[in-house]
Amino acid sequence: MFTFQESEIKNLLNALAKEYKVFVPAKVGDESKFVPYDDNVELYWDRNVLLSVKDKFFPHTEPMYKFKTKRKTVEIEPLASKDEPVLLFGVRSCDLQALNCLDQVFLTKGFVDEFYRTKRDQATIVALGCNEAEDTCFCTAMGVDPQKGNGADIQAYRTQGKFGMEALTEKGQKIIDILKSYLKEENLQVPETQGFQLQPDMDGVAEKLKGMFDAELWAEVAPTCLNCGACTYICPTCHCFDISQDVRGEEGFKYRCWDSCMFEEYTLMAGGHNPRPSKKERVRNRFMHKLCYFPERYNMLLCTGCGRCLNVCPVNLHITSIIGKVKEAN
């Protein structure tokens, strides 16, 4: 394994910043998120960041193309993503798994989303193992290994005042080559992740849910939900979007932006009918999508156990307790 002292990190990031647009986990006010690296950022390693890297691949609001009408014709100008290599340093296993979920949606089954693909192709990802679980973490229950980021270009560890790195892909090897002069080759003991408190039992849940569309459970749990979008917007795997436009006079642009299945308007049809008219249908859909429909279509869960929704839900309606209730249901 290649290692370097943690105190050296800024030198390494500076070297990488010459070749890539580098994003690092940082504390910004009371929040934490991935920000473009510069010397002044307050690097944040202790916990996973509040806002995941989802928006680096699937921005909250993303312009798609400009248009201009001239008499009877329309001129369309595509708005392409910038062509620059991006490096994300320190992505946790749960958030990498979330990208694997998004890959399924945006890149497979014959549908390729070019906006997403471009950004995905441009990115090199350095995964960072987790030494300590937060009380809201339950990635292991969702089949995620907190010390191994599935799909990363490099796996990094942070322990004993050092960072250790292993290249997993060619893109990853390129990073090692750039950093060669800073790195030492030695064995570094990878610590086991400590402190998991939540262990929701997923065994048989997806299968059981197939028969639970009409279960009483939904009417029992749904009244608590406020139908805000906090869980969906903080979730690294939620990927619903809406397409809108901004028109000024004869020109404008189309953009897409995040949408949430918790909102009444999400399923509102042009004629005024709403197939998910109340909390019950919306709450059911969110959990069914994560734990049943998505596994059915893509053979993987749409929850990676990052625990962010447990942290932000205003009423503490937690996916872990829903899983428990599904297990208990007759």
Partner: protein, 300 residues
């Protein structure tokens, strides 16, 4: 004085009796959450489920908003209420969202709730401070109730005091550019999840303009301009009606100090129209919902 554990038993017993005797079709209260520092609001309809109710120092959620789910029901609903919940209930009654006689209010005296975020950070053995909204609370005990749990209590009709908010005054001292920069920094990070709106008892419109993009009053795009438009519209719409429960600010996933705008408006109303507290009594005249010939009208 009865401990919260003892009161919890009384809460359960009262709720069970209400459901068994069909005095109400549902009871709104709190149940144990996933963590030691969390509880979850719960709507119970079966007498045997009342065992799930809890009353502890992490019952942070204001329950009033849940009454809107019973707006079109013919049956009565019971709700546990402290000062903040009762002001929220008064808000809904005064806004003609729910009839007083359709609500059975079980009054509680509130010792102040603890800060769940601090609790998570500091751990179970630490001395956990009160939640910010509770530190600032002027009316901890239910102002309106049909039943009372705990020590018998006569709640005198409170007299509103003149409002001074140091954090508002600090902003008022700033230059216009600094004010804008601070406002921008706060709302740049807004996720537009609308948790603030959905938790707010004063946000009780049947249809919200931010949930109806086809009308094109506002765009779904997340940018500073749209986010500010949302924040200002909401603040002005709850002007004179905000009961200062602080729930919007407490539950914001990205820690926006949402109450700043609300407090600024409360302070301005106070200075222009005299002391007023929303939600103390549904019969009170609302400063922005009524007029007097002595009202200032400098613009005319």
């Amino acid at each position: 004085m009865a401990t919260m554990e003892q009161l919890t038993l009384q809460l359960r017993e009262t709720a069970r009796e209400i459901l068994e005797s069909k005095k109400a079709a549902a009871v709104i209260g709190w149940e144990k959450g996933t963590f030691w520092y969390t509880t979850t609001p719960v709507v119970l309809t079966k007498p045997e489920d009342t065992e799930r109710l809890v009353w502890n120092e992490y019952c942070l959620n204001n329950l009033a908003k849940y009454l809107l789910d019973f707006q079109h029901s013919n049956e009565k609903v019971a709700i546990f209420a402290r000062g903040c919940d009762s002001r929220g209930i008064n808000r809904l009654i005064q806004d003609k969202q729910i009839d007083r006689d359709k609500v059975l209010i079980i009054g509680l005296a509130c010792p102040g709730m603890k800060d769940d975020k601090k609790a998570r950070e500091l751990g179970q053995n630490a001395d956990i401070p009160l939640a910010k909204k509770c530190q600032e609370c002027a009316y901890p005990d239910a102002l309106v109730y049909d039943l009372w749990i705990g020590e018998p209590k006569e709640v005198a009709k409170p007299v509103p005091e003149a409002k001074v908010f140091p954090e508002v005054e600090a902003i008022e001292q700033m230059t216009p550019d600094d004010k804008y920069a601070s406002f921008a920094a706060n709302y740049e990070k807004c996720l537009r999840c609308y948790a603030c709106r959905n938790v707010c008892p004063a946000c009780n419109c049947k249809e919200c303009i931010f949930g109806n993009s086809s009308k094109e009053w506002s765009a779904k795009a997340n940018n500073l301009s749209e986010n500010m438009f949302f924040a200002l519209t909401r603040a002005l719409h709850v002007a004179g009606r905000c009961i200062q429960c602080g729930e919007c600010e407490r539950i914001c996933p990205v820690n926006i100090p949402i109450m700043l705008l609300n407090k600024k408006i409360i302070q301005d109303i106070d200075r222009l129209f005299g002391p007023y507290e929303a939600g103390l009594d549904p019969e009170d005249k609302m400063p922005l919902g009524s007029f007097e010939f002595t009202d200032p009208e400098e613009f005319m």
